[in-house]
């Protein structure tokens, strides 16, 4: 039988435990997807300025589209959950309002990012 850590099963702390776990999972995934992003832009790409046509050539392949959607999702989750954690550590009082604002801002950035990718490849 699996023995889950108490923090994952304790009542009322499940959401915090899941965001804690997702923060670690997103960190590990970001090491990979951000590494590929930096490699593609700065090591593989040798021209001084990245052009629209080069970006289009890169985004014409499905794996790159998936890479950028994953990068956006995990990057924004990791970033905004990190901001929330810092605010809680500094004594944040209005937790629900802050979570709401961060979710709206994160979703908006993810939405505009995915929309721009779709517009770009259409």
């Amino acid at each position: 039988m699996l023995n889950f850590p108490r923090i994952l099963t304790g009542e009322g702390v499940l959401l915090n435990a899941m965001t804690w776990l997702l923060q670690r999972i997103s960190a590990a995934l970001l090491l990979v997807v951000l590494g590929i992003h930096i490699w593609a832009l700065y090591v593989f790409n040798t021209s001084e300025v990245i052009s629209f046509s080069e970006a289009r050539a890169r985004l014409s392949s499905a794996p790159y589209v998936l890479l950028y959607v994953l990068l956006l999702f995990f990057g924004l989750f990791h970033a905004f959950n990190g901001v929330y954690t810092v605010m809680v550590d500094m004594g944040l009082k209005t937790r629900k309002t802050t979570i709401g604002i961060l979710i709206i801002l994160g979703t908006a950035l993810f939405g505009i990012g995915v929309y721009s990718i779709i517009q770009f490849i259409m």
């Binding site: 001084e48 300025v49 770009f120």
Partner: protein, 129 residues
């Protein structure tokens, strides 16, 4: 046998002892680089997305402005440093979370810093050459 928390509280009896600890500075710098990277991510995602939507001319003009600006060129080196630090210290924290290396946290921190310095200097040399 005293618990880990008791040992830690005895080790750090005064405020100055906490501030002299490597782990505290590693944590502070992780937070500082994290906040900096969040601000960069918001700017980066907004700028690239809106210029992509606006079309080829707008995208090329934005990228040329960003990638040929000498001030931004040097600021990019700071960005690379922040990414390397946050990433390597993040790996150190992930190792602790799965139970690896906690008793050697200082040594792992300095090893990560040496690796990070080598990576950052390599990027500086390539970017400025």
């Amino acid at each position: 046998m005293p618990s880990r928390e008791m040992v830690a509280s005895q080790r750090y009896k005064t405020n100055s002892q906490v501030w002299n600890a490597v782990g505290m500075w590693a944590w502070m710098l992780h937070r500082a680089t994290g906040i900096g990277l969040v601000l960069y991510l918001i700017l980066h995602a907004t700028l690239i997305s809106t210029s992509l939507i606006s079309g080829a001319q707008s995208f090329n003009a934005t990228l040329t402005m960003l990638m040929t600006n000498p001030v931004l060129h040097y600021m990019e080196l700071l960005l690379v440093g922040a990414v390397i630090y946050h990433g390597l210290n993040g790996v150190r924290l992930l190792l602790f979370d799965i139970g690896i290396g906690f008793s050697k946290q200082k040594e792992i921190f300095w090893a990560a810093m040496v690796l990070g310095a080598i990576m950052w200097i390599s990027v500086v040399v390539v970017k400025l050459s």
